[in-house]
């Protein structure tokens, strides 16, 4: 099962190495790991997606909490969360296919961020499932390259998606 773990960490050198090293040393699998600044300059947030049964993920959570510069750890499993990935994807887009591609972008609420003679670079964000679905619809055109941020997440206050 997939768990999204959010860790607030001190913004110090070596913290990422410590976290990554712990995952490697304890043979936990990271699906994705995102680090970014927060509203407080001395703190960063790591959002880590881990796949494992509850016992494994419980260990992940505890082992993370044990790292001295890790301030707070939350496992969002079972909670309503907003989880988002951002992707840049460059696909072959010969002129005769562009209209079709633009309508796909519309459906997925994506954006064209670069136009080349034979390619388009698109930006799309959303839950992982949407990103995966978009990759699938792009495949027939030919994917030139692709970059994803990995998941960031926050618990929801409202119970339903607005």
């Amino acid at each position: 099962m997939k768990h999204i773990i959010s860790a607030l960490v001190e913004n110090k050198p070596g913290v990422l190495a410590h976290v990554a090293g712990m995952f490697a040393a304890r043979a936990f699998n990271i699906d994705s790991l995102v680090v970014g600044r927060t509203e407080e300059p001395q703190l960063s947030r790591m959002t880590i997606v881990v796949i494992g049964d509850d016992r494994v993920v419980e260990q992940v959570r505890k082992q993370l909490a044990r790292i001295v510069p890790v301030v707070k750890v939350q496992d969002f499993v079972g909670q309503p969360v907003v989880a988002r990935d951002l992707m840049l994807i460059s696909i072959s887009a010969p002129p005769e296919k562009r209209a079709e591609i633009f309508s796909l972008i519309e459906i997925f609420r994506g954006k064209v961020v670069d136009i080349g003679p034979k390619t388009l670079m698109l930006e799309i964000s959303g839950p992982e499932s949407k990103i995966e679905a978009f990759i699938n619809v792009c495949r027939p055109y030919g994917i030139k390259s692709l970059a994803r941020t990995g998941t960031i997440a926050m618990p929801r206050q409202a119970r339903v998606e607005p």
Binding site: V9, E10, K12, P13, G14, A17, H18, G21, M22, A25, R55, E58, Q59, K62, Q63, A65, R66, I67, V68, P69, V70, V71, K72
Partner: protein, 576 residues
Amino acid sequence: MKSPSAAPADSAGQSAVKTGAQIIVDELIAQGVDTMFGYTGGVVLPLFDRLYDAPINFIVPRHEQGGCHMADAYARASGKVGVVVATSGPGACNLVTGLANAMMDSVPLVALTGQVRTELIGNDAFQEADTTGITRPVTKYNCIVKDVRDLARTIREAFYIASTGRPGPVLIDVPVDVAVTGHTVEGPVKMSLPGYRIRTKGHARQISTAARAINKSDRPVLYVGGGVIAANASEELRALAETAHLPVTMTLLGLGSYDQTRAESLDMLGMHGSAYANYAVQECDLLIAVGARFDDRVTGKVTTFAPNARIVHIDIDPASISKNVGVDIPVVGDAKIILTELAKQTEYRQRKEWFDKIAEWKEKFPFRYEQKSPGIKPQYVISEIWRQTAGDAIITTGVGQNQMWAAQFYKFNRPRQLISSGGLGTMGFGLPAAIGAQIARPDEMVIDIDGDHSFNMTMTELATAVEHKLPIKVCILNNGYMGMVRQWQELFYGKRYSKSYLKNPDYAVLARALGAVGLTVDKKEDVSKGVEKMLAEKKPCVVDFRIDREENVWPMVPAGKSISEMDGLDILESMG
């Protein structure tokens, strides 16, 4: 434990400009350090200059690994934080085994390493190593201090982190330019550790649930690890075992937490533990683990460990709970506090049937050895040491058969009496450990019960013992083999003794060359006299006991078996 923010007034005056090196020394002294271990080198020269006339007893080992083990054993024997210093590059790299050893056994240690100048870091400078990178997995915490203004605080934090919660080694890497930079330390040093919190009290409801489970249990067993010793909770353990009437088994690192001469002691459990401890664990209905971590050497096949038991686990480290074995009643906190609480909430129960059964196992399967054999049995040597020291010596060990025999045949009666490398199993720990322990406990008898090949690894430290006139005793159980490896090869590899023996020196001669006393005992009838001579010696003394070469450690739980499936019980019974 020191409170995080309390800083003693600076005796040197609040606003004097000090170099980084002086700040380190002053902070060490403020932390109560009066003894430390370490080895010099280029980038630590400023620090060593400040140590030149500091009121600190400084012991220089012959190798940094030895120094780190000394600091480790010093900490284990004294309950204080051990301190070790090394230079950058090779010096820091030589600490790695010692740090890993302290990490696995949760020993409070602060390591200070020098680093090349800040502006050279990352350039493959002379004697540069990525010390924090290399040591990150073998320390509880480490960091590099690149700004002299952070130095005092970081050292204070290092001591606090090393000694609180589940203790462990902390390494601080200090570039040489930071050590020579002047800085005015103003006001009290305040720690800043927003991510470091320890739960000590234990959840009241969990404690009462555990107490009820104990009161209800017909066949309880206390399973005690090194955490009880680290928490200085042996008194509280004894009180609980007495109040609630519970049998007690210990891990290797737990030995000494409960007096083994008491009737409730089941001695050590696990791979080479007692049959009665292993049977009791497998048949108990309640296992109360305290400061232990369900290591595979203890549990054997983990899925069949204590199959009939509900499990209570008391530990300061939440991550230890349900790591290897699912726990029914977890209690996170300080063993001292929680055991005290439990003793208040539990009542005495006779449990006659259970104790009768245990007595039966004890009667049937005591630790035994072949007394009639003409050769020297290692178990006999240890029994003799135990008898002649009235069970009161501090024992350090090598790793292998010697270690297991020491654990089986010396009966420990108080905490911090056995100092052994449990988690990492580091050959070569015994001798430097004896040195560290003797320095911590100058008035006690300290004996290293060692293996020949373990001794070979760090024997250079004998020179350190001689230099400091430490009356340590080294009892080499010399079987001419890496005995534990040979035992496995005998049992599981058709006696193909592949690379498990080396040509040993004459240890008595070697000892004398280094300025120690050296004796050889190769006859059974000389063992008692040899031990007597060794104990009477005021100088470091090495005794080379030429033991039966192919003696095995029994019982033994083969890898992957349940701990009640012990080999060698028939052999032990046949000796009865």
